[in-house]
Amino acid sequence: MYFNSFVFAVFLPVVWVLYWSLRNKAIQYQNLLIVAASYVFYGWWDARFLSLLVLSSLLDLFVAKAIARNNNQRKKKRLLSISLMANLGTLGVFKYYDFFALSFAASFATIGISIDPLTLGFVLPVGISFYTFQTLSYTIDVYRGDLKPAKDPIAFLAYVAFFPQLVAGPIERATNLLPQFEIKRQFDVAKATDGLRQILWGLFKKVVIADSCAPIVDNIFEPGAVWGGSTLVLGAFLFAFQIYCDFSGYSDIAIGVSRLFGFSLMKNFAFPYFSRDIAEFWRRWHISLNTWFRDYVYIPLGGSKGSSLFRVRNILVIFLLSGLWHGANWTYVIWGLINAILFIPLLLSGRNRKNVGNVAHGKLLPDLSEFIGMLLTFGTTLLAWVFFRAVNVEQALTMIRGMASSSLFHISSQFDGWLMTMISILIVTEWVQREKEHALELDTLPAWGRRLSYASVFLLIFFFGRFDGQSFIYFQF
């Protein structure tokens, strides 16, 4: 079930009405409804994979309980290993096995040894990387003693399967979300209203910008297609906005929907294209995944402590894992590597936390150095996105070489004036609202101003949206 589908437009109000009609009953009833609704939501794609989700949830529920009961550190470690192996093993089989089998065979082929690799050809279950990381964080936190195991199994199942964020995040930590399932939720008008605003903005980003960019990007990135420099740059530019609006649009809708049910999810994007350096970009892009890697991989590896070589190794590990998390393809590995290469000089020179606050704080416009920093950061991410989107490394390299041609100064045949206008509206709105939680947080405006804003965004969706059933890009990860 997609957020931008008619089915979801019916599903959401039905679940919402049922949910709040249970507000005077015991909390378990609401949680049970969330579990049932979430399983329907997930099973809408392919009910077969529901069993993986249920098994993963039950395994971590029991393992975490066993870890908490046990005082023997070795046994605790063994129990944690069971959870890690089962979860990462499932992820590995479904997502990475074929990639490594084929890469292994290819590397042997280079030295003249021919191996016929056994591939599985499994369909990747939707959202497996998201809910696997979510359940893992729960078990690790219990192992570390940062969290007590869930008392109520229904609350835990609801935490893992919570439908707004189940298939594409934000990847919620049990320390933030699980306690919310264990206390009574109160309906908060201000929170719900702001949730609706965030949903509206997320829809604008998804159906007006991301889905309008998609066909042009697909056209430009079509394997074998030959384009001039300006079109290739346009393809990278539009993909940058497609992936941002697709993914952050999903996060906005997920956070907004959660607020309608009385939950608060973590922020997943903080206007990343206004970043002044790559370190700031990574603090603002897919925050839930990056903080997951930071807390469960980077810091245990030693983080930014130790020798320069040690720190470089840790950064490389983090970015390569981040690349691989997105998919089993060398393009993602190189995308991760490029980001690591851009990040490492900042780390080694101690400038990786130079730009922590909001750009142009309290001002209308950035100063020249901030503006140049933003442009350079956006430009470098643009190049990295080419690897992320390309079918293979050869295509990415060909496209980047093609960008540096004299045809760079011609107007591209793929240029769409309306789409550029929509992207401009997005940039201006997000710039003005960059210090807020989301771009449509309008509490300070008078009622007429708020209504005018809602009507404007609705009309943009009404006239310029696309509803051709485009999936969200991050569903595949």
Binding site: F187, F458, F464
Partner: protein, 309 residues
Amino acid sequence: MKNFIIKTLIALTIVGSCHAIAALFANGATDPFYLRFTRGPYSSMVLGSSRAAQGVIPTVLDKVLSSDLYDGELFNFSFTRDNSPYGPAYLGAIVKKLDKNSTNGLYILAVDPWVLSMPIGITDFPENDMQPGNMSNVTSNPNLEYLIRNYNYAWGSLIGGPFSTKDTVQFLHDDGWLEINVPMDSISMALRFSRKLKEYEDLATKEMEYSIERVLYLEKTINYLKPYGKVVLVRIPMDAGIRSIEDQFRPDFSAEMDELAKKHNVLYVDDTDNNEKYDYTDGNHLAATSAPLYSGWLANYIKRSSDPN
């Protein structure tokens, strides 16, 4: 909470009303299919793929064939090779579109090897999830089900003006005929012809295989329609290049169809040997200028064949 619900309902009512008003503007320029789901039921129909959709003009046949040959107006309920090959989905849609009171209708079933083929290795009928297979209502105007399921753009674009996504290349007429207006200069035509040839070469050599199951569904369709009137099988002409690919893909196709028509005691009309009489937009589809010519020829052929004298 009460206030929140009331305000949300007001907002949703405004949103719903805007969409309902926009739906009233949907017409033949909306997309190549929409209008076909807003008319009927019909007691006489043209059925098949895009060759029939673009090549057979019902109003031309209506003019030529006297009203005593069949009841009511003929309607073109053809779609594309992908959407409406003979199979359970198309037959289901035909059943919904048919006026069940009819006893003297005319049903022109266009056939070619592609509407009787399946993608290699696929066992389920892939058209089940496409229109008309995914439609439960094929006769309401406006057809909200169609717009919700199958219209890919914001409904505001139905209103027209600068936000319109309606294209000027194709227009679906009230009788279901899809008129295509593309540049017919030699350069544009050569480009379209070469692309279409490549597409059909791939279909014939890599992608499709002839399906006995689809032939059985064609027979089921004939048998279903026969009690409601006269059934005619038609092979619509195509350019020599495409014809040659079809002949390689299914060498005895015309003879097979002739035999099938005889088996079911229906008329089979094949004018593919005279394909040079007509112009084509891409080699596969009759040009808008040739569609009236072919439709007139077909009408006269059916008339002559139906005349006992």
